[in-house]
């Protein structure tokens, strides 16, 4: 059945997942019955366990759904420790439902799949050897990709029923009061993990630092926690987040960043109390810096900055140019270590951040979002999931969620090496073109024609070349040539859901 972005979704997949096809970015106002976790009442005694083995025996059974968070990113020790035990104890048919999968998790997930330990996966994304293995059909059942907001929605509605959550934390007391802000492996906001803590039937915290009781601030509370397992180290601080973020010197990135800034400050949204979200790439960081200059020059202050936070954004907070930082994850040490210092850098969970199925998410109030792309097509559809070779190598993250902002800007180079970024048709539609307002490249911008207001505002701006998206696509093709079409089999290896749970695209097994 064809969906609204003209993707033919196999009926068998819709039946298997009990899903519908993507129709609209408008979620409407449905009434939703949420689920609640099963709770085994305990009193008083310490929950600290010295070994994960007993905890697994007490909690985990074949066929269950387990979850992890990815806040430790490439410095994660917890995922490998727990999965090693799970494989060695010969569990079977588990569903793996982490907030996302980083490279450091790839090898053990592949091993778990080969041994039948993991037979289903849902995640924000995957990359490297795991993405390659899934694209080559290692998993019988299709992976389901969901945005951060959609994962929260699916957990709340019971679509993802987490039986046991294994959450690594850099500190906890003996009862499970924990946060992400203190300890050797501090990573700042626990945003994505807070949903697991709230909805998992069994919650196992894994930490290397036991704090005196009661431990505050308690992002995860003792009321939610079944076990606290003490290990030597939960993560490698040097790999959790990048160190000091450097300002890019790449002239192409700077040109793009400056153009993104031109678009923002010349739009009607650039006024006092505006709000924005940027990513963590070189160009996004540079935008934050250009934006700062414009805010100072025009005496404009932002009400909030949202999403994944970096040091340059925290600097704006400290300078008084941003009133609140609403923080679901921290990309660098500067942002991670500042949360505990300022009540204005507020930790938010994934639902509060981006879930369409609640009583109001922060993305609904977002004015400006600056997002990246692997590919953008002439319908403004964006791919952040599969590479130009058709292999899975990305993550939805908050892309679909933040793209609902009033002004959504995609910043991307026209070409990367011999690969065009602006293409006639993206390999995988993740964020529908309906959500995208402006595409910024180093040669100029394209405005979604339905945004006639933006066309009017931006055509006045001197030195801002405006093209149609088709013209940008042709410019790219002129540079790199016309690629041979990729070859896929008919087998669906992954399904990308839109934030409302409908199917926006399917990813097929690569044929090679």
């Amino acid at each position: 059945m064809k969906n609204k972005v003209n993707i033919d979704v196999p009926d068998a997949i819709l039946e298997q997942l009990d899903d519908s096809v993507f129709e609209s970015t408008n979620y409407g106002n449905p009434e939703i019955q949420r689920v609640g976790p099963k709770v085994r009442a305990t009193t008083g005694e310490s929950k600290v366990q010295s070994s994960i083995d007993d905890v697994l025996s007490n909690t985990l059974k074949d066929g269950m759904t387990i979850s992890f968070h990815h806040h430790f990113r490439e410095g994660d020790f917890v995922f490998n420790k727990v999965m090693r035990k799970i494989i060695d104890m010969d569990y079977q048919n588990l569903t793996l439902a982490p907030s996302s999968l980083t490279n450091v998790m790839n090898d053990i997930v592949i091993e778990a799949i080969k041994k039948g330990v993991v037979t289903n996966i849902t995640s924000s994304g995957m990359r490297g050897t795991l993405g390659d293995a899934v694209s080559h059909g290692i998993l019988k059942n299709p992976v389901i990709f969901r945005s951060h907001g959609a994962r929260a929605r699916a957990i709340e509605s019971g679509e993802i029923k987490i039986d046991v959550a294994f959450l690594g934390v850099p500190n906890s007391d003996e009862m499970g009061n924990a946060n992400g802000m203190n300890g050797d492996a501090a990573f700042g906001s626990l945003g994505y993990a807070l949903i697991d803590a709230q909805y998992a039937d069994k919650l196992v915290l894994i930490t290397d630092t036991i704090m005196p009781y009661p431990n505050t601030p308690a992002s995860i509370k003792q009321t939610q926690v079944d076990y606290v397992v003490k290990v030597d180290k939960v993560g490698d601080p040097d790999k959790i987040g990048s160190g000091a973020t450097r300002f890019t010197k790449d002239p192409k990135e700077l040109k793009i960043a400056k153009t993104v800034n031109d678009v923002i400050v010349n739009s009607k949204y650039f006024k006092n109390d505006f709000s924005f979200q940027t990513g963590s790439g070189g160009a996004a960081l540079a935008v934050t810096r250009f934006l700062r200059e414009a805010m100072v020059a025009q005496n404009i202050k932002a009400s909030f900055a949202l999403g994944g936070i970096t040091k340059p954004t925290v600097d704006l907070l400290n300078e008084g140019l941003v009133n609140r930082v609403m923080d679901v994850q921290d990309f660098d040490k500067g942002a991670a270590s500042s949360m505990k210092l300022s009540p204005n850098q507020q930790e938010i969970d994934a639902s509060w951040y981006a879930d369409p199925a609640n009583k109001g998410a922060m993305v609904d109030k977002l004015d400006v979002a600056i997002l990246s792309a692997l590919e953008v097509d002439t319908n403004f559809n964006v791919n952040v999931m599969s590479g130009s070779d058709g292999v899975i190598r990305g993550a939805i993250g908050g892309h679909q969620d933040a793209a609902t902002a009033k002004l959504t800007i995609i910043s991307a180079p026209l070409v990367r090496g011999r690969i065009a970024t602006i293409v006639p048709k993206v390999n995988t539609v993740i964020t529908p073109g309906d959500s995208i307002d402006v595409v910024v490249t180093e040669v100029g911008i394209a405005i979604n024609p339905k945004r006639t207001d933006l066309v009017e505002q931006l055509k006045q701006v001197p030195g801002l070349p405006i093209y149609s998206i088709e013209e940008l696509q042709q410019k790219a093709e002129k540079i790199v040539g016309q690629p041979a079409p990729l070859k896929f089999t008919d087998r669906v290896v992954a399904v990308a859901e839109y934030r409302d749970g409908s199917v926006i695209d399917v990813i097929k097994e690569v044929a090679d």
Binding site: S388, D389, G417, R418, I419, V480, G481, P483, A484, D512
Partner: protein, 97 residues
Amino acid sequence: MEIKKTAIAGTLESSDVQIMLSKGTVGVEFDLVSDVAKQFADDIKLTIKETLGLYGIENAVVKVVDKGALDMVIKARTLTAIQRALDAVDQPNWEVL
């Protein structure tokens, strides 16, 4: 024309291509490694073959390590490799260039 000696041009930097030409006997044989082979293997081979054709080279073993080079880069590196392989660096073929 016949290749006189094995010659190499280009680097392994991204957006460059390294081309090594050696003597061949059965037409132009390719050993191609490229990040974009799926999309552009045929285009890359065609560009190199055409460039060899400009010098009348019909037999060669061509080892290509491509890092996403654009067409003009592939052509330029091939030309240089040819001049070197023909021992003709001092006598550029102006008609071809």
